[in-house]
Symmetry: C2
Subunit: 673 residues, 2 copies
């Protein structure tokens, strides 16, 4: 018997849910909606299905919205939720109109159920497969909430005005009061740090609730905190926190001979999990918004940890919104390009061409939007309203910024790749010319004398400024050839005269680029210093920015606000990617059903790791003497640096590398001699 | 002191309200939403205002939606509805997010109020003047309801199962029960005819309501009826009807020596008023939807009766919806063209170029959408999903239908005219070429032998079918020259061998065309026969179609349903236009501030009429001996057929016409000698 699912118009669940999630942002008592256009679900849709019944079926039908049933071209009157139909051929056209949320349908019977085999239209003569989402399981599509688990305070600190509860770690949670014995007002002041929660005048988030008759009370909006200060007229017996999280398979693990690195991995996992909710959020305390550049990195981390691809798809769809495109995603030029590039990663890691195919019209519209905004030189330059971001740093982003042109080039390259996979020859041809043209234009940014790509061109002249940003991008994404890469490494990336990067956001690319250049030991040290530094500050999740020189409360400040900094920021979790891709060394093979493993111990004595694949997973132990490897399903290749003698399998030597073919469902114990 | 108004993003009030209105359509107990795409308000908007205060103001601010106040770039915390601001320069950026309706703002203080001087954006970097609507006066924008007035039953007829109340005339009303003495279920069966209300199994609309404790009960949805059958477990003392209507100025009147014509005018007025609600509806019983072709005629009738232009603007905006355009308006090819043409009428009658200017991007998008769908001959031909309608009649609308090409030509012509007014030279130039090209292509439809435009071309060949439709359009809109017009009159319009038109919808154009050809007496007779025929059937409003040969209940049937026909259909009110434009003889002059009056008594002895102008009104009495005329504001010209001697003013004779210049605020008594 087939399983009935709530179904809807593709992409619309994501829009409605993202609107709900993003508008839960408050600063103090003030709601702060996103500053970009939000779009809504089509309110008036039709679900269509031709079907045959072999016998009499009792069909239960429900909808969120007004329901109109048309069976074989006739309205069904007096419908009370159940329909009985005998054997025969039928056609259902079911209209659902919802003026306050997502119109959606649920139909259950022995032979016929609502599922992705139904067609849906927003009444514009275009018909798509209906979609569903596993977030909708014990609720309806318009009332989706994540799972919760109870967390008890580990300490209660009485202060002059307030009582501060310490829950021991960063959470996104609903405070939950039990044994309420009186009425009155409860005031809650949330803090990611103790300093924040106890600074009632300046903490970023707070709530006031009136209790009239309740014996128990759970707040309606989950907030990010570890510490919670309470001022209450109300007597209650107990306060705990109902931590809200997305149920995922904790299918990755990493432990090694260095406990600090093991802890960094753990806290990264927790940081990503906290920010990976209905969507990939930037940070859970403050924005709770979807930012395409932040999310792009979260997707990559996700492939190396939870491999939870539904949240990626939801985020991609919500970021796009609805046509017509009038601005860059999040108003940020870079973020439109990251959105495009993310489809290529998604395909490489998952092999899911259906999602690419379904969204290819959106991909093309976004790329055309960007191309329609090139300047007279055919390059990207900020137009009024565009935010050219690159990084939180003191950057002059006027003119033709090299970083943006590189992203344009990469976006073109990725769309062409996807076009080839989907066999869209006309599209491929059209953009191939653009790509070559942009590739040629990138040359003007290369300054041979400085051994670096300059930051930008203004009024036809190079500005001469050298930053790490375009240079690490050129290394990471093979824009520079191998000779230039070496020059960039020496003259920029390992040159302390070039200003350092302070955000984990851009450190992600910098450290990845250094790994690409073989600087494993350097990167290992940087990870220990930077992320280890936050741990030494007591972090239970990684931060939006970190500067070890800041001490005391000043380290919590940002955006001119005392506690403006997010202490649980998705981009802080990048060690997941760095460790997964460069130390454990996993990448997809020629297809997503194969893998390549190229482990690097660096200065570690050993590590144990488990990582997910699109289909299946791998487990690996590496030390200086041996490698133990098991892949439950996929075949792959193990590649080791150097020409090594291996016991336990046949090894191929080539280009100073040792390659061992790995078959799925086989335990390998490979001794390195 | 300025008046505070609820304000919102332009066009969005109309979308949300139209969705509400159209989804109140039910067939029996089944909701029937429109079969086209519905769009929604942008949920997340910003209102912006720079202002200066001279003194301390107490500012009251409220919104429908979540409110975020930013004053001089800083959030206002702890906002409780009132803000005190001292003298100074300020900038407000107020965000409103509404996830279930229209985000809107209301701000009131001595010096600063919310009104059309505020800017608004949907956060796409495009800024527009905020708009308001006078429908919002004693409610909020999301809760607009029209006015009501109590109507008592004129007769109560007891039947076997039910009691039938006769309210004496067609209404859109909420049944209202008073003195309820018990609980139970009330079943209501509505009828535009007695036959319908008392046929419980087949009446088009019905409602069941459970009464639990109410002493009084008014139904939540107004329905169209004159008769109401009740089956009730509930005891109540009284049932009346709260008739719902749009408050308008009854600023037109017409009475004449023929009481039948006087009555036809009255019932037309009532028919239009009933269908002219939040929007111009097609009919109040069944569709309650916005149909562009129907509405186009209602606009024209409105200029000759209520001159209520807000409802026209609301309807035009709601019909457009939001970009991107994916289908014709209402899916009907003709209806996209009528929508475009309506802007020209609107401008001619009102002189309001602001509305045209604000919506010119939409106008161009709609025209381009149509042009993008021309076939290889550059003509319109139905594409998959397109409904080529023309009329409810047995028409083969495949191939290149002449009627549609004429509408395309007219749409191009009208957009060019508007482009000239707005000084959009590029636009004018672009479409002028298109227009000439279509004009030339229309020639192939003219069949000299038949003295008529043929109905269509299929596969390069004329189908040879002659109907009135393209021919009356060619006369009415000057597509044919005067010689062809005379040929069409004889060979088509006055030729009983050409199948007659049976819908008031197309009779509108047919009779108008005949008036243009000077056939006043013929048209007068047709009006008496056709509309008088409905009155002789007891009509209190005019019908969707009428055929005097149908007798008994068969006259109520349509669309295969026993009471499918609408007995209160907007297009039934066309005598308002025919009498106003051709018998009273009013048209706008060179500008909307001038008028031309060319009265025709036809076979009447006299008439008295009052008609609105864009600014002001005219009153006129005409009989065979004299004309009395008063215009309260506008200047104009009175034109009489023939070379006449006039006492009371100076007359100019030219081309067998007599013209008298009329000055506003002057009483004229003109004796014809």
């Amino acid at each position: 018997m087939k399983t009935a699912k709530w179904i809807w118009y593709p992409g619309d669940f994501e829009l409605e849910l993202a609107n709900k999630c993003m508008t839960r942002r408050y600063e103090r008592d003030t709601p702060v909606p996103p500053f970009w256009r939000l779009d809504r679900a089509y309110p008036n849709v039709k679900f269509i299905k031709n079907f045959k019944l072999q016998k009499r079926n009792e069909i239960m039908i429900k909808a969120e919205g007004k329901l109109n049933l048309m069976l074989n071209d006739r309205f069904i009157y007096n419908f009370n939720g159940i329909l009985f139909l005998g054997p025969g051929d039928y056609r259902f056209v079911i209209s659902v109109y919802n003026d306050s949320g997502l119109p959606c349908l649920y139909l259950e019977s022995e032979e016929l159920v609502s599922d992705e085999s139904w067609e849906v239209t927003c009444n514009d003569h275009r018909y798509f497969a209906a979609t569903t989402d596993k977030l909708v399981h014990n609720s309806t599509p318009n009332n989706v909430r994540l799972s919760t688990t109870r967390i008890e305070a580990v300490a209660i600190i009485k202060q002059e005005n307030a009582v501060v509860y310490d829950f021991g770690k960063e959470m996104m949670a609903y405070p939950f009061f039990e044994g309420i014995q009186s009425k009155g007002v409860i005031r809650l002041y949330y803090g990611e740090s103790f300093a924040e929660a106890s600074d009632l005048e300046h903490c970023e988030t707070l709530d006031y609730y009136s209790i009239t008759h309740e014996k128990e009370f759970q707040t309606p909006i989950a907030r990010a905190f570890r510490y919670l200060a309470i001022i209450s007229d109300v007597k209650y017996e107990k306060l705990s926190a109902m931590a809200e999280f997305i149920p995922v398979d904790f299918c990755s693990s990493f432990s090694c001979s260095d406990p600090l690195l093991t802890e960094i991995y753990q806290v990264s996992l927790s940081t990503l999990h906290l920010n990976m909710r209905e969507f990939m959020l930037d940070g859970i305390k403050r924005d709770r918004w979807l930012w395409s550049g932040d999310a792009y990195q979260s997707y990559l981390m996700d492939y190396y940890s939870f491999f939870e691809t539904d949240v990626i798809k939801r985020t991609m769809l919500a970021l796009f919104g609805k046509t017509p495109i009038k601005t860059h995603i999040n108003h940020i030029m870079d973020y439109s390009f990251y959105w495009l590039m993310a489809f290529d990663d998604y395909y490489r890691y998952t092999g899911d061409s259906v999602f690419i195919d379904n969204n290819f019209p959106k991909i093309l519209e976004m790329l055309d939007f960007c191309l329609s905004r090139t300047n007279k030189n055919g390059l990207m330059e900020g137009l009024p309203g565009d935010w050219v971001f690159v990084d939180w740093a003191d950057l002059d982003n006027s003119g033709e910024v090299a970083f943006e042109q590189m992203l344009l080039y990469l976006a073109l390259d990725r769309v062409i790749k996807l076009g080839k996979i989907l066999r869209k020859e006309e599209t491929v041809k059209k953009y191939a010319e653009w790509k070559i043209s942009v590739q040629n234009k990138l040359e003007k940014f290369w300054n041979e004398g400085k051994g670096a790509y300059v930051y930008s061109f203004k009024n036809g002249k190079a500005d001469g400024v050298i930053t790490r940003h375009p240079n690490m991008l050129a290394v990471l994404f093979d824009i520079a050839d191998s000779q230039r890469k070496q020059i960039i490494k020496e003259r920029v990336l390992l040159n302390s005269g070039v200003p350092p990067i302070t955000t984990p956001y851009m450190r992600f690319y910098e450290l990845a680029a250094l790994c690409e250049l073989g600087e494993y030991d350097y990167v290992m040290k940087e990870i220990r210093d930077y992320w280890g530094g936050m741990l030494s500050e007591g972090a239970t999740s990684f931060w939006e920015t970190y500067d070890h020189r800041q001490t005391g409360v000043e380290k919590y400040a940002m955006y001119g606000r005392r506690y403006g900094k997010s202490l649980c920021h998705a981009w802080g979790a990048s060690p997941l990617y760095l460790i997964g891709k460069y130390f454990i060394g996993l990448t997809p093979g020629k297809t997503e059903s194969e893998f390549i493993l190229r482990p690097h111990l660096s200065d570690l004595d050993w590590f144990n790791a488990e990582l997910p694949l699109a289909k299946g997973k791998i487990r690996i132990h590496v030390d200086h003497e041996k490698i133990e490897l098991y892949s439950d399903k996929a075949n792959g290749e193990l590649i080791l640096d150097g020409t090594l003698n291996i016991c336990g399998a046949e090894a191929i030597h080539h280009n100073n590398l040792t390659t061992i073919k790995i078959k799925g469902s086989t335990n390998y114990i490979l001794e390195i001699q």
